[in-house]
Symmetry: C2
Subunit: 302 residues, 2 copies
């Protein structure tokens, strides 16, 4: 397996989470950590993010032990970003109890010299202006994917359009597609977003699976049906990590590679939700990933 | 193609429907009509139901022209069942404005002599007691499928369990599975329902596709992504019609046949939602059905 690294920029957080299955406080979270640990079984990850002085050394050691480079992880005075949330009995519903940005409020991503030629780049869900900042610091990446959220679609649509124009792949969910395009229908939304010049789009649908759309067609993978979804936090970021991690092992990033990558993405999302925090992603073997990949292939065989 | 007929028992209605795309009054509806017209491209349908004296002769002629036998359609004094509903901008949400049972209130299905040996039977969503009634009138059908709804799960759970015990296949949606089993998780719910002795279960998820579960595995088909969903009324019944219609063309009803049937079911559901009332199901060619079937196969190819 190739060892081309993946660069990720995103949030690093402590989460206080309550779900119908229990409660966790001070749990590792944030888009960049979920992404990194989901991509790590496939390849080396170059992590860029910011944490406060309260961020434990043990966590950094854990990341390094999972082939995640932390040279781009800035530790600055103050507290790490904290998010508190409570999930409903229907685990697809949640309320945010609080969001303390802390050191993340002043985050300006600085890409270390040794990261700048990373061939695959994932721009996690941060301000589009910062995503553009990152693109100026990297050198001719082969493939760039971008995640975003309704906040940026509403508040900074122009910067977001700028950023989208510069990437190969947009990874969003149904409602974000509807907000970006003004179309509630999936097919109508995909048509409109491709008209903006975007080559590849992936629509995440959580437990309902994911679509991948390109100029020649549309691919679908069901979600891996877990027997118990304990904590959905970070599932979308783990999905993206599985996707980019698998792509890092491909010689060429073609629609065929992306179709397989969507399935691996669904697999990593499933490992994430089976446990609190990043626990479901720790020490994952490629064999256990492959097993779920094959299960998903069998699920659509006639 | 074989010509084994399918028997269906269900409602026959006039619908008054409003969706974001328009309004229709006095439109043909009811589970039995949607089912019949969706199964008709594949085989002959033996329809059992009740309508009032206001039911137009032209509708009966239209059904007959679509290879739907109406010998079991009782026309009785009074008015036909009427349902009024309004869909939201998010077309997956709707409000029922009124339900006038009219002649449907006293419906007691009587299976004509010439229908009694029909090899495939679909028990549409009516009182479980009436579904049991039908099972006593038919002679050793090869394959029986049953649909139900939350009303019967709540009000007549014992009769429903009796009915479920006597069929080969249960066709329900997510929330009905959760209500029957007390399990919100799909896998947990399927396990529990198979433990009751049920051989085959299909879970309809509307625009999110459908699962088929049997003792050796789980199959999934995505929904056919329509460019415009005009009116979702009857989509679940059209799904069932496509399923049973395709099965009627199979020599043996095996899990392999059921996997393909689920895809045909998704195809017929998609034709239904593209137009008001049953209009999307009229004069459908097997070629246009096959085209969407192949599209769905390509959608999951890597």
């Amino acid at each position: 397996m190739s060892n081309r690294p993946v660069l990720v920029v995103g949030s690093i957080a402590f989460d206080d989470v309550e779900t119908p299955f229990g409660k966790r406080e001070n749990a590792l979270g944030g888009s960049a950590l979920y992404f990194s640990l989901a991509a790590a079984p496939f390849t080396t990850v170059n992590l860029v993010g910011v944490a406060g002085e309260d961020f434990p050394k043990a966590a950094i050691q854990m990341l390094n032990a999972h082939s995640v480079n932390t040279r781009g992880l800035a530790i600055v005075p103050g507290k790490t970003f904290r998010w508190g949330g409570k999930y409903h009995d229907d685990i697809n519903q949640r309320d945010t109890l609080y969001t303390y940005l802390n050191v993340f409020a002043d985050f300006r991503p600085i890409i270390p010299e040794s990261y700048r030629t990373t061939p695959l780049v994932f721009l996690g869900n941060i301000q589009p202006k910062l995503q553009l900042d990152v693109l100026q610091q990297v050198m001719h990446p082969q493939f760039v994917a971008l995640d975003t959220m309704n906040l940026w679609i509403k508040t900074t649509p122009r910067e977001l359009e700028d950023a989208i124009r510069q990437v190969d792949l947009l990874i969003i969910n149904d409602s974000e597609l509807a907000e970006i395009t003004g179309k509630l229908n999936l097919i109508a939304g995909l048509q409109k977003i491709h008209q903006k010049g975007l080559k590849y789009v992936i629509i995440k649908r959580g437990e309902h699976g994911a679509y991948f759309s390109w100029n020649k067609g549309i691919f679908f993978s069901p979600a891996f049906p877990v027997a118990k979804a304990i904590d959905p936090t970070g599932a979308g970021d783990s999905f993206a990590g599985g996707l980019m991690g698998y792509l890092a092992t491909c010689n060429q990033i073609t629609p065929a590679a992306l179709r397989k990558a969507v399935i691996y993405a669904c697999v990593l999302g499933s490992f994430c939700v089976e446990n609190f925090s990043v626990d479901g992603l720790l020490n994952l073997s490629l064999a256990s990933i492959e097993q779920r990949y094959q299960f998903l292939r069998r699920m659509v065989k006639i």
